[in-house]
């Protein structure tokens, strides 16, 4: 990167290349089922199961007040798949984009843009479905798939924000951890894993010995639901920046 001085090739005018970044977004969507199709098939499947359960409960005479739909995790069902999508974007699409002459930088920026779009789409859709479910009184049978966990309590905007933060974190965690593998292979993964475990243990030990657990819980209580998800959003941003730094020297398998 220092041998540029003698370059007869004209310098690219701008460091920001919208076309180069946009084509990575298009590359991620050329097969739309990966980011859009499958998550909705999973959500649709979970919804169908929830509906069947609701119908069974109602015909058994159990009222909405007694059922436990508030504790259903069905609304989060696509997240497990989307973490894998984040991994595959790096493990498979990254080597392919390099073969097509993309730079690592543009690939990461394009992928980040894609994650942003997907998170906005999922957040808007789920927040709206929560409202629809409330409006239709649980799809007319008192089923509670979207209006569950922390959803449906503080309104559309909070539901949107929390889903957006969670979605972005899920995608960036999968992708940024895979950048470590693409750069340092198994050795890097092991160091990352053991490092993370060590940090968590040290944190637990520190908090336990200083007897600060109540203070931690108080703090989480004081920042509230939105605050907690802002922390998640911050973690997503950390993953995004770390992934950018790591991928710059990553190599395809």
């Amino acid at each position: 990167m220092t041998a540029v001085a003698t370059a007869p090739v004209t310098e690219t005018a701008s460091r920001f290349r919208p076309h180069e970044i946009w084509r990575i977004v298009r590359l991620h969507t050329v097969n739309p089922s990966i980011f859009f199709g499958v998550p909705w098939i999973i959500l649709g499947g979970a919804w169908a199961v929830t509906m069947v359960i609701a119908l069974i409960l109602r015909s058994a005479g159990i009222s909405d007040a007694e059922d436990g739909f508030r504790y259903s995790w069905a609304v989060l069902s696509p997240q497990w798949y989307l973490i894998v999508v984040g991994v595959q974007a790096l493990a498979y699409t990254f080597p392919f984009a390099l073969g097509f002459g993309a730079t690592r930088r543009d690939f990461w920026l394009g992928t980040a843009a894609m994650f942003l779009f997907v998170s906005i789409e999922m957040a808007a859709a789920i927040a709206t479905l929560v409202q629809l479910e409330i409006l239709t009184d649980g799809w007319w049978v008192g089923a509670g798939m979207f209006d569950a966990l922390w959803y449906g309590i503080d309104g559309w905007l909070v539901d949107f924000y929390t889903t957006f933060a969670l979605q972005l974190l899920v995608l960036f965690i999968g992708a940024s951890i895979t950048t470590v593998f693409m750069r340092w292979r198994m050795k890097g993964m092991m160091i990352l894993l053991f490092g993370a475990v060590a940090v968590v243990l040290a944190l637990i030990a520190g908090l336990t010995f200083t007897e600060s657990w109540p203070a931690v819980f108080d703090w989480f209580g004081s920042i509230g639901l939105v605050g907690v998800f802002t922390v998640l959003l911050g973690l997503a941003a950390v993953c995004a920046v770390a992934g950018y730094l790591v991928i710059r020297r990553a190599t395809p398998r």
Binding site: A3, V4, V30, I34, T93, L98, G99, P252
Partner: protein, 301 residues
């Protein structure tokens, strides 16, 4: 004047204690067809990965279109490299590959790609994972040809291709190369298949370049002399021997260098047979010491 598109000196790549490339010097001129030849694991793919900025060298200098290739968009956009073991995005089909190709290759010719697809009878709706080895090679060949990138790499393009498909690749490459001149680097260990296609040969073995010469020069550069062992030995006494085979009292010796008219006449008078050495034979002689090696050769060494 032709331009030099690739300039490398002392290029070294190590993987742990294994040295994949060991101080390679190399230059590639514009608008020629290069053969990057060598045995499996010789370092062919490593060279191509370095040239396309996919991996980083441990030492040496490398300039492609005047710059280090890695992370330089204006260099990378002029290259096309579909690796033999290329990974494709999850659930990708050849149709997806050809649909996204024009976003990355400004000279992409979609009509031409379509014609190639029917020439190779490639099932474009089948998942890449389910393609046969030959069909997978065809995907790489079609992208390489239709991208018309100024510097195009073909990594083992013949792998798994049937005879008809090999012929199609050969014909299409020469046709299209004549119409749209560009620099082609073709790696293969199936040397006889491509011998006539190549204008320049770079032979690599165990991370070092053994031969870097014009293909026509290489073709005539070695001779095999066969006959009675003692006569042959006398004849080649002061010549550089690169290969030797013997059976009973007969020997067949390959020497580096061509024979002039007088030498040919003398050989005929001695009852020796002269045979041209094909590119493949020459390369086996140069790199296959452990394969073709006989006790004789060790004795001679």
């Amino acid at each position: 004047m032709t331009r030099t598109v690739v300039r490398a000196s002392g290029l070294t790549k190590r993987y742990g204690s294994f040295t994949a490339l060991d101080g390679v010097d190399l230059s590639i001129e514009e608008h020629r067809i290069y053969g990057l030849l060598g045995r499996n694991g010789a370092g062919k793919t490593t060279i191509m990965q370095l040239l396309t900025g996919q991996i980083f060298a441990n030492g040496g200098e490398l300039e492609v279109f005047g710059r280090t290739p890695a992370e330089h968009s204006d260099v990378l956009r002029r290259m096309c490299f579909i690796a033999e073991s290329q990974r494709y995005p999850e659930d990708f089909t050849p149709a997806h590959v050809f649909k996204s190709a024009p976003w990355f290759f400004e000279n992409w010719d979609a009509e031409y790609a379509e014609r190639l697809v029917s020439d190779f009878r490639l099932p474009v709706k089948r998942r890449v994972k389910k393609l046969s080895r030959g069909q997978l090679s065809a995907v790489g060949v079609i992208v390489g040809l239709a991208s018309r990138a100024p510097l195009t790499f073909f990594d083992e393009p013949y792998l798994g291709l049937d005879a008809v498909a090999r012929h199609i690749f050969y014909d299409r490459l020469l046709e299209d190369y004549a119409e749209h001149p560009r620099t082609v680097v073709l790696s293969t260990h199936l040397i006889d298949e491509v011998a006539n296609l190549l204008e320049h040969v770079i032979l690599i073995d165990q991370g070092r370049i053994l031969l870097d010469r014009d293909a026509d020069e290489v073709r005539g550069s070695a001779t095999t002399i066969a006959g009675a062992r003692r006569v042959v030995d006398d004849f080649v006494a002061d010549r550089p021997v690169i290969g030797r085979e013997s059976l009973g009292g007969l020997a067949s010796v390959t020497i580096d260098g061509r024979l002039d008219q007088a030498e040919r006449i003398r050989a005929a008078e001695l009852g020796l047979e002269l045979a041209p050495v094909s590119l493949q034979q020459l390369i086996v002689h140069l790199t296959g010491t452990d394969l073709a090696g006989t006790t004789e050769q060790e004795a001679a060494a």
